[in-house]
């Protein structure tokens, strides 16, 4: 994997609503820790504001989007609960930041993904065009 990326990284929080298992006190403590964590990263210029996603929504699929189904977002371990955008240059640093996330101690996981400069579709189309060109030479 290319470990350098000028476009930053996205942290996708995957959750099964583990926070419902915490006491009020534990939850307050964690929210405080998380806030301090995020404020430190922001002050260092490493994080941009993220957003949480509501546990509702639908999935649209099929030609012309003819299927609209309710997603089981809350119960699923895989559901995306929110995201953060990191302005750091290497995946190692992005992973280290993900590892320092206070919520991990309780459950869930964090997907660390490089943000693309160019859509992978464009890159693949160019590769295929080049292969075809080579094949005709």
């Amino acid at each position: 994997m290319n470990t350098q990326n000028q476009n930053g990284y996205m942290l996708l929080y995957r959750t099964d609503e583990w926070y419902n298992r915490l006491s009020h006190e534990e939850l307050q403590k964690l929210i405080g820790q998380n806030q301090a964590w995020f404020e430190r990263l922001t002050a260092q210029g490493k994080a941009k504001p993220g957003r949480a996603l509501e546990r509702t929504g639908v999935i649209v699929s099929g030609r012309n989007g003819r299927f609209v189904t309710d997603g089981p977002f809350a119960e699923s371990k895989e559901a995306i609960g929110g995201y953060l955008v990191l302005d750091v240059e290497t995946i190692e640093e992005a992973i280290a930041i993900a590892q320092s996330s206070p919520g991990l101690a309780y459950g869930g996981s964090i997907e660390v993904r490089p943000m693309a400069d160019e859509c992978p579709l464009d890159v693949r189309a160019r590769e295929l065009a080049r292969e075809e060109q080579l094949a005709t030479v």
Binding site: N34, G57, V58, I59, R63, G65, I80, M115, E118
Partner: protein, 121 residues
Amino acid sequence: MNTQNQNGYMLLFRGNDWTKSLSPEEKQKVTDQWMAWFKRLTDQGKAIAGNPLEPEGKIVSGKNRVVSDGPFAESKEAIGGYFLLDVASFDDAVAIARECPGLPYGVQVEVRPVAARMSAG
């Protein structure tokens, strides 16, 4: 479901394996359509951010903060990119999702209301 939301909506594009069956021309066509779609939404003030994600990455999980490779490249479920929409109703967001040029090829679009703030993962 509350159909009004001042914080906007997120479209998550799922599926990273659907382009394999396309010819370079088809692929180019879908890419152009996708870019034009995003530009139109941006010009209309309906899309405020959007980005493709590289089909690679890592997953960090659990108390021990274990790092593992994700199956991002050839997965039906993997997230390939997102749009952040500034529209007021859920119906508007779904209508936009239904315009996604990748839908005929098997892309799934997850439409999620954005919450006011994130307190913890």
